[in-house]
Structure formats: structure tokens, C-alpha cells
Symmetry: C2
Subunit: 117 residues, 2 copies
């Protein structure tokens, strides 16, 4: 329910004077925005978003070798995307012999999710 509060007819301002009452902006938001933007950026690639989707739906740890055939990209590229997700703190991995198992870090998406709701 957007309310059009004062779409006031504005006036050209003298060069030094402020144009309008600036919208207040809480400083607390700033570092939180940095973190949320970091997560959003990591999700800002279709393949990474689908990777997270698969990992979440699987509700457990998924071997990289299971992920490779799902996407039409090379193994090094997939590894690169997984690293991006790791760097963003969204997923983590666990080595077991030759195999690496990935999983979504619980609550890693909660901040962004809460803000979006």
C-alpha cells in the first residue's frame, strides 16, 4: 500500500542550498548492506544460484562429481563457482579422500532473506 506522501512540486534550488529534505538513512544499515550485497552478488550468477538450489534441496552434503554433470560448464569453471560461494560464506566443503562434499552453511542466507521479506 504505497502512499504518495507529498509529491510536492519542488522548486529549483540556489546552487548551495539543499534541494530537498534528504531521506534519513540509518548508519546501522551500512555494514549490514555490505554483507547482504556480498551474498546477493554470489547468487547473481545463474549457475551459482542453481548450485545453491541443488545443495539446499539435497539436504545433505553433495559430492562435486554429482554436480559436474548437471551443468554445461567445465570442471574448473564449476570449481571456480564453488569457490565464489565459499568465499561469500554461503557454502562450505569437506574433503573425504578424493572426493569433496559441499553443503550450504545454515543461516548463511537468512540475513538477505529476512531483508527481502
Amino acid at each position: 500500500m504505497p502512499v504518495d506522501l507529498e509529491l510536492s512540486p519542488k522548486h529549483k534550488r540556489a546552487n548551495g542550498s539543499p534541494c530537498c529534505e534528504p531521506v534519513v538513512y540509518p548508519d546501522v544499515q551500512r555494514e549490514e548492506a555490505l554483507r547482504m550485497a556480498e551474498v546477493a552478488k554470489a547468487l547473481g550468477d545463474p549457475i551459482r544460484l542453481q548450485l545453491v538450489d541443488v545443495l539446499r534441496k539435497h539436504a545433505g552434503k553433495v559430492c562435486v562429481c554429482e554436480l559436474v554433470p548437471l551443468f554445461d560448464i567445465s570442471q574448473p569453471t564449476l570449481s571456480h563457482h564453488l569457490k565464489k560461494l565459499r568465499d561469500a560464506g554461503i557454502v562450505d566443503s569437506e574433503r573425504q579422500g578424493l572426493w569433496a562434499y559441499y553443503y550450504v552453511i545454515p543461516d548463511a542466507l537468512e540475513g538477505l532473506s529476512a531483508w527481502l521479506s
Copy 2:
């Protein structure tokens, strides 16, 4: 409640044969992932995320001249970010004389928000 379903000790596979039972991946997700990644990418910059935050909290249309003093970037750069948000379908604008008023498109974030929840 992550359940470790069969972290089966895997075996090295012969070169041609499949390594593991690949996780199924619904094709429906694919275009939806494209759209959500587009939105996430647009939110993947702290300034743009804060811009959307301001526009949402204001619950109405906000003049660009009110946005400029909130951020430590030049006016052309702010305009550039607003264009990115417009291209991603997150915000839209409305000209009124010299002034441009921006607002968040209702439900633009709903897809991503629902997926994250």
C-alpha cells in the same frame, strides 16, 4: 536438520562410466534461476542494495535529488546504479518536470524472496 544420506565410500570410476548417481535437476528451475540471478546480481552492490532499501522504506516515490546526498558517489554514478535497477526490473521511475521519482516495483523481489525462504 541435515541428514547425511549415504555418504557412501565412493570408488574411482572407469573413465567413461558415470561417477555417481547424478542429483536430479528439474528443468523448470532453469529460466526461473535466470530471473532470480538477474535480481540478485542487481542487488549485489552495496549502494544498489541500500538504494532499494531506502525506496522500500519510504513507501512511496523518492526524488533522485533526495538520494544523491545519501551516498558518497557522483550524480552520474548514482544515475548509473538506478539504471541497473531499472534494467533488472526492480525499480521504475516517473518524470515530473525537472525531477525524477523512483519507486520499487511491487512484487519485483518476490521470486527471489520466496526462494530464499
